[in-house]
Subunit: 345 residues, 2 copies
DNA sequence: CTGTTAGCGCATTCAT
DNA sequence: ATGAATGCGCTAACAG
C-alpha cells in the first residue's frame, strides 16, 4: 500500500510546494523550523523515502561504485572487496560487484555496463588476459575515477594500489637464506612473463640471492601450472634432481602445497630437509597441521586504500586530476614450514 | 570530451525528434529501417550510450538487486554471491553488495539504503542477532521480491533457499556409525538455540542415533565458541572424559579443527581412535595433510537457485505472488579424517 | 521564507 | 512512420 510516497504527496497534504518539502527534508537553511517539523512529521506518517534514482539522475551522481574482480569467491578478492565496502559504506556509497572470470571480453562488458549505470568510479583488478587498454581509456575519458588494485595497467590518469611483490619475494628469499638455505628453488607460474606480479617476484628472488652472494642457477627455477597438480608435477621434478634444493620459495601457496605433498611422499622432511615459503597467505596455510609460511598480501588494506584513493579523487576540485600510485609493503607470515632453526613460538 | 551523448544529440544531428531516436534505438517495429540505420550509425559516431539511470527512473526498474550477507570475505557467502552473479549477470542485472557484520542495526540500514536505491529485489542471509521482522515486512509491503538464503526468517510472501541441515547432520552421523563409531560426540555452537541451523544439525544427529538404536547421551554434547579456540577448549574437555568418544560430528569445521589439534597433541590418533567429520566444507579441510571430512553446503547452487527464484518472482504477472521455499540436499565430502575402515581412494 | 519553473535522459501516449 | 507533449522524482535557479 505504502508503495511509494513522493515529495508531492507530502506537499499536497500540507498545501505547500514540492520545492519547500525538498528543502525542508534537506535541512536547507532558508526554511522555517515550523515547516521543517511539519514536513518531517508527515514524511514519517506517509512512509516517505527519498528515491535515490531520481536524485542520481538529477545530480549526475549515482553514489554507486563498480568493483570488478576476476572471481569474487577467491579469498584474496573477497578481502579486497570487504576492505572497499568497509571504507565506502559509511560515506554513503554502494558497491556493485562484477566478475570477469579472467575473460577480457567479460571485462569489457562489465565496464560498459557499469559506465551505463553511471557509477561514480571503478575499482578493478585486471584480467590475466587483458591485452587492450581502450576500454580503460574510455573510463578515463568520461572522467570517471579509475583505480587498479593488485593487477594494474600503467595508464596516465588511473590510480593504483598494489603490493610490492618484489619486496615480498625478496623478504621471503632472505628469510630462507637466514635459515641457512644455500640452494633455493623458485616455483613460478607458467607463462608468468605476461603477468607483472610473477615477474616481480622472480626479480625479488634473484636480487636476494645476488645480495647474499648466492649464484643464480636457472635450473632452480621451475615453471608450472598455478594449482595443486602443477605443484605436484614440480615436486616430482625436484625429487629427480641430482642435488636437492634445501629451500623453496613459491610464487603461489597452491603450487607450493602440491609440491609439499609430493615431496613428503618421498620421505623428505619439511622444513628440516627443505624449508619452504609461499605467497598469498591463503587461509589454509595457517590451518595446516604443519602450518606453511607465506607472504601476506594485505588484501583488506589494499581494498581500504583503493577506496580512500577513490574518495580523494571524487572529492577533488573539478580541474585537478589526482593520480596516485600506492605500493603496499607485504608482511611475512613465518610458520613452521620454513623454520630450520629452533625458535620459541 | 565525449562526456555524454544523449538521444537529443543524435536527434539534433539528424534533424529528427528524440522520440524517433529512442524508437530506432529500441528497434521499435514502427520505424523505417533507413532511420534505424542512420541513428545507429550516428549513435556509434557520437559514442552514445544509454543512461540506465534515466531508464530506471522512467520504468521504475533499476535492474539492480541487493545482496546482503554477514561478511563477504567468508568463503561460504562469497560462493553464494558468485552463484547469484553468474546467474543474474547474463539477464542484465547488477548486484549491489552489503555486509551486516552480524549487526542487526546495520542490517536495517542496508535494507533501507537498498530500498531507497530502488533495487528490484533483495537476497539476504539474516544476522545471527536479527530479532525484529518489521524491516523485512517493509520490503514485502513495497512488493519487492525478498529471498532468504541459508539463514532465513519465516515470513509470508518471502521465499527462501536453504540447506537441509537436519539431513546433512543425519548423513554425517550415519556415516560415522557406519564406520563403526558407538560413542559419537556432537560439537555445537554456544547459544545455538537462537540459530535455526544449529538446532537442525543437533536434531539430525539425534535422529541418526535414534534410528541406529544408539542411546542419546547429553554428556556427549559440547557447546563452545565457533572458532579454533572454542574447539581447543572442547578438545581439552574431551580428553578429560572417563570414557573417550570414538567419533565426533561437529557443526563447524573451525571448531573441529581446534578440537583435532588439541586431541592430537594428547597422542590420540585420528581417525583410528576418534573419527571426525565437520560441517561447511571449508576450503582448508581438503588441503590439510590429513584431509577432514565435512558436509558440503552447496553454496554456489544456493546462490544460483536464489537468483532463479528471484527471476521467477520478478517475471510473474502482477497479481500473482510467488512464494517458494527451496531446500537443498547437502553433500558428504568423505575424507581421511572419518575413514576407520580401509577404502581404496 | 516560499512558490514557480525548468531540466536531468528516456520512453511512451497521442496526434499527424 | 514520425513529432510533440508528458512524466518518472527530485533539486536548483530565480522570483517574490
Amino acid at each position: 500500500m505504502s508503495d511509494k510516497a513522493t515529495i508531492y504527496d507530502i506537499a499536497k497534504k500540507l498545501n505547500i510546494s514540492a520545492a519547500t518539502v525538498s528543502r525542508a527534508l534537506n535541512d536547507h537553511p532558508k526554511t522555517s523550523i515550523k515547516t521543517k517539523i511539519r514536513v518531517q512529521e508527515t514524511a514519517l506518517e506517509l512512509g516517505y523515502e527519498q528515491n535515490k534514482l531520481a536524485l542520481a539522475l538529477k545530480s549526475g551522481r549515482s553514489n554507486n561504485i563498480g568493483v570488478i574482480v576476476p572471481r569474487i569467491d577467491i579469498n584474496f578478492f573477497g578481502s579486497i572487496i570487504r576492505g572497499i565496502e568497509d571504507e565506502l559504506y559509511p560515506k554513503g556509497y554502494h558497491i556493485i560487484i562484477c566478475q570477469t572470470h579472467d575473460n577480457e571480453e567479460k571485462e569489457i562488458q562489465n565496464i560498459n555496463a557499469l559506465l551505463n549505470a553511471q557509477v561514480d568510479g571503478i575499482i578493478t583488478s585486471i584480467t590475466k588476459n587483458t591485452k587492450s587498454t581502450t576500454i580503460f581509456d574510455r573510463i578515463l575519458e568520461k572522467n570517471t575515477p579509475l583505480i587498479f588494485v593488485d593487477r594494474k595497467l600503467n595508464l596516465k590518469g588511473a590510480s593504483s594500489v598494489t603490493l610490492n611483490d618484489f619486496k615480498g619475494a625478496y623478504m621471503a628469499t632472505q628469510h630462507l637464506i637466514e635459515q641457512g638455505c644455500k640452494r633455493i628453488l623458485h616455483l613460478t607460474v607458467l607463462g608468468h612473463k605476461s603477468v607483472e606480479i610473477y615477474k616481480h617476484r622472480l626479480d625479488g628472488y634473484t636480487q636476494a640471492l645476488l645480495d647474499n652472494n648466492i649464484p643464480f642457477d636457472k635450473n632452480l627455477i621451475i615453471e608450472t601450472e598455478n594449482d595443486l597438480e602443477g605443484g605436484k608435477k614440480a615436486g616430482l621434478k625436484i625429487m629427480k634432481f641430482n642435488e636437492s634444493p634445501d629451500g623453496i620459495f613459491s610464487s603461489s601457496d597452491f603450487m607450493l602445497l602440491g609440491a609439499i605433498k609430493e615431496i613428503k611422499s618421498h620421505g623428505v622432511n619439511i622444513p628440516e630437509d627443505i624449508a619452504v615459503i609461499g605467497f598469498s597467505n591463503e587461509p589454509f596455510t595457517k590451518f595446516m597441521e604443519n602450518p606453511i609460511s607465506s607472504v601476506d598480501q594485505c588484501a583488506l588494506d589494499m581494498g581500504k586504500l583503493a577506496a580512500r584513493v577513490f574518495l580523494e579523487q571524487i572529492n577533488a576540485p573539478q580541474l585537478i586530476k589526482i593520480e596516485k600510485n600506492v605500493v603496499l609493503a607485504p608482511k611475512l607470515k613465518i610458520r613452521q614450514s620454513s623454520l630450520k632453526k629452533v625458535i620459541c613460538n
